[in-house]
């Protein structure tokens, strides 16, 4: 299949960017979206042009490195799928595809389609962990956990931290990411000791990074490749109210 690409090219964090048009010819519909860019990059290099910089690592939907706003949607049109798992057969022969980086003040562009997502790391550093300073690991199943809580915690634990939620939100809010991390721990016994302090610190860090606020439009939930529900945000808000009222 033949595709026309409009790709955001930007030399560095402080340079102005622009959309450039490239022809991707003889693309197999079985290729993944990233393989298609690999092919285009080979052609660009052969022609002496700088290849398109983009993030990727595992290419199997688990690491959260791949990104890309594809025709206005994070990770492209297929629900519940990361860009690395998106196949070219999702598109039509002759189609024009616009590829842009995630857009958020808290995710500055590094080069072309690569953005700096270390603001997410700093939210985790603010409390997205459990402090256990001594002893070996406990036997599995030693602490009973309700099936419902375990399932919900597991859903939130599926967050790969890719940032699609921020990219999809018109306010570039990191609420779904922060809430998934918080609620994952808040539902499990191990997370209880630091639960409310964790909520206050991670929310404070999220605000500090310059993400927007949540306007409850749920675009994040629709764009999340792991289908994480905005139930997590309601959970975070409940814990945040408790944390503020009790001064933790």
């Amino acid at each position: 299949m033949n595709i026309t690409l409009k790709v955001w090219r930007q030399d560095g964090p402080n340079s102005a960017g622009r959309l450039e048009t490239y022809d991707a010819k003889d693309i197999s519909e079985h290729m993944s979206f990233l393989e298609m860019i690999d092919v285009v990059n080979e052609q660009l290099e052969a022609a002496g042009t700088d290849p398109i910089a983009f993030d990727h690592d595992c290419r199997e939907g688990i690491c959260g490195m791949c990104s890309l706003q594809i025709n206005g949607t994070p990770h492209g049109p297929e629900r519940g799928t990361t860009t690395c798992q998106l196949h070219m057969r999702t598109f039509k022969d002759g189609e024009t595809i616009t590829i842009e980086p995630w857009r958020a003040t808290a995710f500055p562009v590094v080069k072309d389609l690569v953005v700096d997502r270390t603001s997410f790391d700093r939210i985790i550093e603010a409390g997205g962990y459990i402090s256990v300073n001594t002893g070996g690991p406990q036997d599995a199943n030693a602490i009973p956990i309700n099936k419902g809580d375990a399932d919900e915690a597991f859903e939130y634990a599926a967050c790969i931290g890719c940032g699609a939620c921020v990219a999809a939100c018109k306010n570039a809010s990191a609420s779904l990411f922060t809430a998934a991390k918080l609620s994952h721990l808040a539902l499990l016994p191990q997370g209880q000791a630091e639960r409310y302090e964790r909520t206050s610190s991670m929310v404070a860090q999220m605000d500090l990074e310059g993400f927007g606020s949540c306007t409850n439009q749920y675009e994040c939930e629709a764009a999340c490749p792991k289908g994480i529900s905005v139930q997590s945000i309601a959970h975070m808000n409940r814990d945040y109210i408790k944390a503020s009222l009790t001064g933790r």
Binding site: G72, K170, N171, S201, T215
Partner: protein, 240 residues
């Protein structure tokens, strides 16, 4: 992990985006109560004129006036809630715009309701409308000829003011448009409020998602009915 910065609970809440949204949800909730109560009170305009010529709406208005201090306390509370709501709306909207300083060349929305995109605009229209509405029916600045009528017993004649106000198709049209936009605000607002307060749990989610459209429909139908009934001459025949 550091704990929440000191101060009191209110200070801590207002220091964050979630806290600001909670402020919007609570102040919005107060105003939803007002919008619905105000509508039900005013729908008495549809009642027929009794034999003695003292219409239910005039008695209702006199009753409200007679509460004196309480009326002023409620007015002051509403004003404070409104100011807080608008302040939070503007602060958060500016912040949200800054968080997405560069926009996408192609943007797409997947499941956001249209009403949710126009909250600041519908909100600002409400603000303008409330100022106009107070100037019109509370201060009598817009249509002085309709204002200040009294019954033979000295009672303020709200009924006549109401009917004359809405016989004017320009004013009636303005109220109709404004109330549709208020309904649009409520369409997203009522459901959003539950989510902000953390109350949209799986068990109640389907009902909460219907609450916005339901409250919006009731508010639009109830409020639009009044000017329409006057325009069509269904009520107010006694006013010359």
């Amino acid at each position: 992990m550091s704990t929440a910065s000191g101060g009191n609970a209110i200070g801590r809440l207002l220091g964050s985006t979630i806290g600001m949204k909670i402020l919007m949800a609570i102040t919005g909730f107060i105003w939803i109560g007002f919008v619905l109560g105000h509508m039900v009170g005013n729908l008495q305009i549809l009642l027929p004129m009794p034999e003695d010529g003292i219409h239910a709406i005039n008695k209702y208005a006199a009753m409200l006036k007679a509460t004196g201090g309480l009326l002023w306390a409620v007015r002051f509370g509403l004003l404070a809630a409104f100011a807080a709501h608008v302040w939070a709306a503007i602060v958060l909207s500016k912040r949200n715009r800054a968080a997405r300083a560069d926009s996408y060349a192609v943007s797409n929305n997947i499941q956001a309701k249209p009403s949710s995109y126009y909250m600041l605009i519908t909100g600002l229209v409400i603000l303008g409308f409330i100022v106009f509405h107070l100037a019109h029916f509370t201060l009598g600045l817009v249509q002085p000829e309709a204002f200040g009528h009294h019954l033979a017993n000295g009672m303020h004649d709200v009924y006549t003011m109401f009917i004359l106000g809405f016989r004017n198709p320009v004013y009636a049209g303005l109220y109709i448009v404004a109330n549709v936009l208020i309904g649009m605000h409520l369409h997203h607002a009522v459901t959003s409020m539950f989510q902000t307060l953390g109350l949209r749990t799986p068990k109640y989610q389907q009902y909460i998602d219907m609450a916005g459209p339901a409250v919006a429909s009731v508010a639009i139908v109830g409020n639009v009915l009044m000017p329409v009934a006057v325009l069509l001459g269904l009520i107010g025949g006694s006013v010359s």
